[in-house]
Symmetry: C2
Subunit: 415 residues, 2 copies
């Protein structure tokens, strides 16, 4: 039924077809992709072009489909064709258009699979990344000299039992939207567009609460039942984004200026264990109250986390191993990351009979080793929460900067 | 970490605890479950009590979490305790309340896991079912004489390659809501409430488009990209519901009057194969146009399906093996079912490297053998669509009628 092993012959055939198809619609025909015009109010569109890729500083949408791909490309040019085809298609889909008109030649497969027809853009963003493997000298793509120093596989870290089938990858596509059907459609159609040149390696769905029907849960709760994200970098805090997330002019690899690095970790929550622990245990583990999200030293969610406060017994009110203490930047030399995670559940773990559910954790930073890995080295060793979680997958990707109309993701890499 | 095998000792301990906890809140304390009162506008609540269980004739919500459980109950009374505890908890959750106040005794595990705090009811419905296995004489629950004749495991059917780990079960919980976090919370908390007495057997997430942001996709599209449901029974068509779905006074098992039967089938779509087939092939396979959903004999979605129409070549316009012809009641002696399916994707199939995605098909009917099985016997043999799909799981459950405040699902079974 399929050829899991990539073949160069299929690669060439595939890219030839995609290129041809895209060229055919390049004169504006794609604007008619959705038969009845654009159904979306413009407020449902997130700008696709700009200094940075969308989907990073963009306020988090409700749903995630994240996919990692391997590629059979053997030259820079072939890799570039994939990125160009993906960028062009994503540009259309993020505006609420189909990849191509459904009413194409009846004897050919439709270029758009159709399940998002008539659906709005739903704040779709598609964010692309390049894995470390593409830059290995032995890979032969001629990109070794363009590898940014910070782009490396993560070292082994405490608290992880990684599944290689859900880890790594040459390329990543993070599709976020307020509609899961729109996000799934985007990933599926990108996969289809470059089939043969790319092979999907793993895929993860993520969910959260539905913001359109929710006005009261301002900070979303994760599957531990706690508010998650209170102390996250605010994506409109330009100074913090510059300091912790965006690569600036000091980045020697010019093609990555304005970019960042994505770390993805599938963090399984041992839900049954957590659910059997007492409210006290849970709150001391996190360092916050479960109902309000307030730190144990306050009464409202955004009250300051007072790490020095001591109780009547002379002990810190926020325990030394509480998650909020160990993860916060106050005790991490100011190190911060921009988190953008989604809850997931993938059914029952056949080995234990327990729910396989937790947090698909995504973060963005200037340097994965100095930021995510440094934090996780400490959290995985001493955080009280480590008893209740396990990192089961890991991946790191270079996220090139944004691009202009006519350009494509990573175009400066090929200049 | 867990005890996948159910033990009677845990069963008793679990039910004792749940019973106690529920009793403690039974005087109205649970009404305070969500700290700040009910956040939901009443339009987001689906009535929980009534002649029939909610979640059947209820207009389909956007998201599904479906779970099947096995139970360690060895007496009718123990089974009844599970159903009573589930009903009481579901009654609160469907109104937007927590199972119990989060601010319980700090030394005890919270009775509600918390991730839906502050979220509205989100049209949550929780629908319960009983599997055939509970009624087997050798099971020893004393229910053999109460088995309705139509409640049987489905026979082997064409077009299926079933995974036993995703099939069957003693009990089912269908949680539907417009918010996936609300639906997941419901299933998780029911599982937790009766842990030891029940063990989750399998769990399936389903998604669809987001109705709150969609005005133009009236009939949802499935992952084949076609509109799906045009000819479904309209759930407000009382005559059709009575004829095809609800068990009436002629049902000799009195406890099932007002109930129905649920059949669940995980229908994997061979997406890569489908996506490589031409638009012509796709449209002839379904018997409808992809963009409009109109039958091949019409131009608008709700135009009549003219099975007799012939083209210039003298051949039927809607082919003899088209899905719309073979699945429609016109050619099935009037047999109909109420469908209520959701799209799913569960990542990559490790065997083929292809997407494991498709339709989690749920249908309701008066007799699974005479309705679903009769239809599938024909579809699985001659439907042109059978090339592109495969049924990978199967389950059947008796869905007892609705109940009144103070009652519980299936209460008449124990009378």
């Amino acid at each position: 039924m399929t050829e899991p092993a990539l073949s160069r012959r299929r690669l060439v055939a595939s890219l030839g077809g995609a290129g041809l198809a895209l060229a055919a619609g390049g004169v504006g025909g794609f604007e008619l992709g959705r038969r009845d015009g654009r159904p979306a109010p413009s407020s449902q569109e997130v700008p696709f072009y700009g200094e940075h890729q969308a989907g990073i500083a963009t306020p988090a949408q409700d749903r995630l489909v994240f996919a990692a791909f391997d590629t059979a490309a053997t030259t820079k040019g072939e890799l570039r064709q994939v990125l160009r085809a993906w960028t062009e298609a994503a540009g259309r889909m993020t505006r609420g258009f189909a990849v191509a008109p459904v009413e194409g030649p009846p004897a050919a497969p439709p270029l758009d699979t159709g399940e998002a027809l008539d659906l709005p853009a739903a704040r779709l963003t598609v964010t692309f990344g390049l894995g470390p493997g593409l830059f290995a000298a032995e890979r032969g793509l001629g990109l070794a000299s363009r590898r940014p120093a910070a782009l490396r596989d993560l070292p082994a870290l405490p608290g992880e039992v990684l599944d290689p089938a859900r880890s790594g990858g040459d390329l990543c596509v993070q599709a976020c939207a307020d509609d899961p059907q729109v996000a799934f459609h985007a990933v599926r159609n990108l996969a289809r567009l470059t089939r043969g040149a790319t092979q999907m390696r793993w895929l993860q769905l993520g969910f959260g609460r539905t913001s359109a029907t929710t006005s009261t849960q301002a900070t979303p709760r994760n599957l531990h039942g706690f508010k998650d994200g209170t102390n996250n970098i605010k994506s409109d805090d330009a100074a913090a984004m510059t300091e912790h997330v965006w690569l600036g002019r000091d980045q020697p690899q010019v093609w990555m200026r304005g970019g960042t690095y994505l770390v993805a970790r599938r963090i399984r929550m041992l839900i049954e264990t957590w659910d059997r622990s007492s409210l006290d245990d849970q709150q001391l583990t996190i360092g916050r109250f479960k109902d309000t999200g307030a730190p144990l030293t306050g009464s409202r969610e955004h009250d300051p986390v007072d790490l020095a406060a001591k109780g009547a017994d002379g002990q810190p009110v926020i325990p030394l191993d509480a998650h909020v203490r160990l993860a916060g930047h106050a005790e991490n030399q100011g190190v911060r990351i921009l988190r953008r995670g989604y809850s997931y559940t993938d059914g029952i773990d056949p080995l234990t009979g327990e729910l396989d559910a937790g947090l698909f954790f995504i973060c963005f930073q200037r340097d994965p080793e100095k930021q995510f890995a440094a934090l996780q080295r400490r959290l995985g060793s001493v955080d009280a929460l480590r008893e209740y979680i396990q990192h089961t997958s890991s991946a790191v990707f270079a996220i090139p900067p944004g691009f202009r109309p006519g350009g494509h993701v990573g175009d400066a890499l090929f200049a």
